[in-house]
């Protein structure tokens, strides 16, 4: 009886954790794979894996990086399993525009189109820092890079993004 109660409480806690983290995990996956449906599948599968491996999560405060690692691996597996079709970014932006542009936020749609145009090696650390709130050290650890390499990629990402969005980059430094 006590075991059943404990299991039920454990499930409720895990569900709460997943509910809280799911939006950012979906966004993270979306910015890496460019596809809402695929992002949902990947996050769904990641949560299954997380649920099965939940004993390896020792500290709930570390849940976010733990889930992010699982999502990254699941994405890599997905890309390995099937060679995903390459897409024209301009077509994609046009297709996604209605879901990406929330209401009258056309400048956000423009920014989103520009984010898609960044090389993945710049986009991923940028999303980890700006969306997930990762520190440089955390990004370096997740991507298996040195901290200076991460900082360099983040600089290039923002520099390119600002240029793509028509920002004044005259004051930007040369690397």
């Amino acid at each position: 009886m006590m075991d059943r109660v404990r299991a039920k409480q454990g499930r409720a806690r895990f569900q709460a954790l997943c509910l809280a983290l799911r939006p950012d995990l979906l966004r993270f996956a979306f910015w890496l794979c460019h596809d809402h449906a695929l992002a949902e599948d990947v996050v769904q599968e990641s949560m299954l894996r997380a649920w099965k491996a939940q004993d390896s999560l020792e500290d709930e405060k570390a849940a976010k990086p733990w889930f992010v690692t699982i999502v990254r691996r699941e994405l890599a597996r997905t890309f390995e399993r099937k060679r995903l079709n390459t897409v024209n970014i301009d077509d994609l932006v046009e297709l996604e525009d209605s879901s990406l542009a929330a209401g009258d936020q056309t400048d956000l749609a423009e920014m989103r189109a520009a984010i898609f145009k960044l090389p993945e090696e710049y986009r991923e650390p940028l999303v980890m820092q700006s969306l997930l709130g990762y520190s440089t050290a955390e990004i370096a650890s997740e991507l298996n890079l040195s901290q200076s390499a991460v900082l360099s990629r983040l600089f290039r990402a923002r520099h390119q993004l600002r240029a793509l969005c028509g920002e004044d980059t005259i004051g930007d430094p040369k690397e």
Partner: protein, 241 residues
């Protein structure tokens, strides 16, 4: 001594970094201060752009029990059948088990948005207005200065997430227009102390701080001040910041 190029490289790599050397350079260099303001404004747009709308997760969390989950790795039809079963179990589970507490979800949301605490300067009217407008609200002049505003996905709904500056430090305010509560409740979770207040016909607001030593009475006073400063609908008494 830090030079402009070095400073700007560092700011573009990490706009919210708080290295003392960077802050010292910023304090003495007007051009780099202006550069930082532009980068921070761009960063706010970037964060908003990254936060694409996501579907509500309540219906499709994939786990019921660990045994059921194993079936999901079988063939495609088996996986579909298992998914349907799991969905049923989860739906039943969600129906029968209590939803995670509103306070816990607010705190979890906060933890995912560390940038919100780092800015202290007041937002301009142009930055604040769109966030408030989406919730059909504005703030009157009694409101404390707002240093951060974002339209956030919370429990599948877009709600305003604000940080206001109080004498006790930054205070997070989430206007939970879709979450009705019957009475005020205080919480103290993961180092955050706060309160959730009902707002008749407009859901509720969550007000929380992470300043150690903040008392419940102080939180209540700030919450009351914020609540009374919210103007709903298209009132003409609104003053734009």
């Amino acid at each position: 001594m830090m030079y402009h190029e070095q400073y700007r490289l560092a700011v573009l790599a990490n706009p919210l970094g708080n290295d003392p050397e960077l802050e010292a350079h910023r304090a003495q260099c007007e051009e780099c201060r202006a550069f930082t303001d532009r980068v921070l404004a761009f960063e706010r747009r970037l964060v908003s752009a990254l936060k694409v709308t996501t579907p509500s997760g309540a219906k499709i969390l994939p786990f019921g029990n660990r045994t059921a989950v194993r079936h999901a790795k079988g063939g495609r039809w088996l996986a579909l059948a298992a998914s349907a079963t799991i969905a049923f179990v989860v739906a039943a589970g969600i129906w029968l088990t209590p939803r995670s507490s509103l306070a816990a979800d607010v705190v979890a949301h906060m933890a995912g948005e560390p940038a919100a605490w780092k800015r202290h300067a007041a937002l301009s009217a142009g930055e604040l207005a769109p966030v408030l407008k989406r919730a059909n609200m504005t703030l009157d002049p009694k409101a404390p200065s707002v240093s951060y505003a974002n339209s956030c996905d919370f429990r599948g709904q877009i709600v305003p997430h604000l940080v206001v500056q109080s004498p006790r430090g930054p205070v997070t305010v989430m206007v939970l227009i879709h979450e009705s509560v019957s009475k005020a409740s205080q919480f103290d979770e993961q180092g955050y102390r706060g309160t959730i207040l009902p707002i008749p016909q407009h859901g509720s607001i969550a007000v929380l701080m992470k300043e150690p030593g903040t008392t419940a009475a102080e939180i209540d006073a700030i919450a009351a001040q914020v609540r009374s400063a919210i103007v709903w609908g298209s009132s003409r008494s609104v003053i734009e910041r």
